[in-house]
Subunit: 331 residues, 3 copies
């Protein structure tokens, strides 16, 4: 089959605009699958050849000659198990999904890659430093809170309904999200871009003076993601960011057949000592890459055309079709 | 008349560089009108075919074959009434200006569009939550302050000379400025870009630790606009941003003959519950679009060339000239 | 000699990727000189025709037909004296280096240019307002701290090992870094772009509520540079930014033969009164320009191609070669 026989598809959310735009730029037919009332952006920005409105994402079934590009919303809406079983051509390695979603397994993966990670506290009593308490599931940062001691933790957790959570050391520093692309065709790792998230209300808190914060007695921090801000990192940090990206790929090959390929992200904090802590991994495209539809300051170094992560995915599929290696990157 | 007969003009401030660059890219002759000692940037960046230095903006009189693109500085320097009476071809609907400038009317407009708005307190005694106190006029955020109670309000207002002000509920969250363009030629709404303002000193406060802030006893927050920072919003928020933009246009058609067209901006805050509050509307180009001279991550989806809001305006005028509909977009 | 006879070189750090990319875009051969284990980014991003790994930057010796572009890392690793003596073609005026590095001399330079500067306190006893205490040398902001009184200063300085430092008035406001390029060929000053630094931990502090900061008893601010964030400034500030840039160039010509040319940066704070304070000058390319590999919102106004500061340097050298004026810009 040739390229024009294939359609590239994404669920209408997260980074679908970028993925579809990239696919069109590489010459593919494109399809977006939307829930009712979520299709407007995909009609306004003309990057989908077809906008298909469904009543439920469960309707997703076998689509011949269609390659689905996964993103966080796909996984969040359908669940890992449903995605693993989808009868569709899927870009990336589905076997890695479980290693990303399970917080214990993802820590093992990052430990194997010898990445610095925040400490995890199994019991509240053990808290001996600032921690951030994260609830499981797809809340996008909702209700997360900082606690400074076991007492503080107990006071704050009591305000939330009981549900599974993680008590993670709070690394004091600045957040940096590093976007990578690993090619299974040429075995090379690329740095695509960097961003930081824009979270409500923590990214608004600093705009309120300490005095006024003290007067707002019920002010609690929260971490709901609203968007993303672009940034570049100090050039002398790039060797380390490349290293930790490579070690992550190498470690993935030890834990899962075929390992990780395609786009992924290491969510990091840089401390005042210049140490890079990895507090999470996303084993697929992240929304921070939406900043760089026209290329990032990094992809602009290597490519003579606007290269987003979405387009890089489509380019990989195109090369695989031309060189008859599609089996290497779909599963 | 044909396109080359027209000149596109702007006052030398606010977003004039973007407007003129966009007009040149679309093939128009360009003119910038500057106060003395304000012309340097317009000579350095060669986007104006003519730089005209005037002693006072009052000198602005009938300019044949010249289309003036309004921005906040035009309105702030001349006043709404003077702009309404200017004997000039004006891009946009001048009748809407009064609805934007009058805080009571603009609330009515947004209420008709069913947008969530912060509560207004008529009397200080009624303050039952954090509020931001805004002075009327073109201070650009100068002296605005946060108060947490009637007592706090009275202490802080006393430091300022008496003048008209608004007591508005302070929405805790993150600011997001949404840039739209509504075409009166094809009746379509486009999302152009997003930004957040860069304000002194509130965007510097967070860089001072709580401990140090406490030691700086006279530290008060202020909101003077110094610039703008780029951002993208979470893709799942786009349907709602499109909705509220459309409702704003529809409501404008009910309050003013012809309604609103061209660029406009909804100034929003997103709370930790994901609610979008609109605390202001700008019924013309905003300075946050200056970030995107070369196109934004949103216009790059739809256009195969660098499309700023300034250029989008010129494109609209160009199409109107070609299709003989100039009367629909000038007034 | 013609252009193809020359190689443009940079040390592998700071802004080397941008410099080399710009040189290649202008048609030069490029060379990057790296310490061991620092070469990976220069192999990944293919902007260097040659990657030369050395054991020590001291190995840098006479390289015929090679033009070295200096940046902060060159000066920081080798020291001003060694750079002054390097037997290499050097872009820029080496005589200015000492005026930049010596804090007393740089203040004299800025004073001659009539720039507003923060006050310096010779003795801790004299502290009568908030100050920032900066240690000399290439720590990149490490250990800097804010003090609000002589007592506070003594408590905090005691935590650090004794070493030379500067006690500088802390200007409350927002940081803005202005990037300029002054051409010695056409005697014109250009505004290239603006950024703000991304520093750990101060740019993360605001994300922690005042209440939580109070509970984190040992939380101290620090200023280690991790990256850069893009911004545009309010257009009405551009005349002043152009003025202070021009005055800086003019003053440089009075203090040093030939004065300053090429890229430079004024590090400023804007107060809530709209005053622009200059707290530092960099007399060469700064890392904030790395944001704009593809051009900034400012260079996009003037150039019909992607123009970074790195490329602007290469363009200047190219023009000098073509017009036989290389002696005017190398030394």
């Amino acid at each position: 089959m040739k390229q024009t026989d294939y359609t590239i598809a994404a669920l209408g959310s997260h980074s679908a605009l970028q993925i579809l735009k990239g696919a069109k730029d590489e010459g593919f037919r494109t399809l977006v699958i939307c829930l009712k009332n979520k299709d407007k952006p995909y009609r306004m920005f003309k990057v989908a050849d077809e906008v298909r409105v469904v009543n439920s994402y469960q309707e997703l079934t076998k689509l011949d000659k269609t390659i689905l590009i996964p993103h966080a919303s796909l996984i969040s809406y359908l669940g890992v198990k449903a995605v693993e079983k989808l009868k569709l051509k899927y870009f990336g390695n589905r076997k890695i999904l479980n290693w990303e979603a399970d917080r214990v397994k993802s820590r093992q993966w990052l430990a194997r890659a010898k990445l610095k990670q925040p400490k995890i506290f199994e019991k509240a009593e053990a808290i001996d430093r600032p921690v951030i308490v994260k609830f499981f599931g797809a809340g996008g940062g909702k209700d997360y809170f900082i606690a400074c001691s076991a007492v503080d933790f107990k006071a704050k957790i009591g305000r939330n309904k009981p549900r599974p959570h993680l008590i993670q050391e709070y690394i004091i520093g600045v957040p940096v999200y590093a976007h990578y692309f690993y090619s299974n065709l040429n075995q090379k790792l690329e740095i695509m871009s960097f961003d930081k998230r824009y979270e409500t209300n923590v990214d608004g808190l600093g705009r309120i003076s300490g005095k006024d914060q003290a007067a707002l007695k019920n002010l609690e921090s929260s971490y709901l993601v609203c968007g993303n801000l672009p940034l570049v990192v100090r050039e002398s940090l790039l060797p380390e960011y490349l290293d930790i990206g490579e070690r992550t790929v190498t470690a993935s090959q030890a834990i899962v057949k075929g390992g990780l390929w395609g786009p992924f992200c290491l969510e990091t904090m840089i401390t005042d000592k210049g140490e890079i802590y990895v507090f999470e991994i996303s084993a697929r495209i992240v929304a921070g890459t939406n900043l760089y539809i026209n290329g990032s300051p990094y992809t602009q170094l290597s490519y003579n055309e606007p290269m987003s992560t979405g387009r890089r995915i489509a380019r990989e599929i195109k090369i695989a079709i031309e060189t008859n290696q599609l089996g290497k990157i779909l599963c």
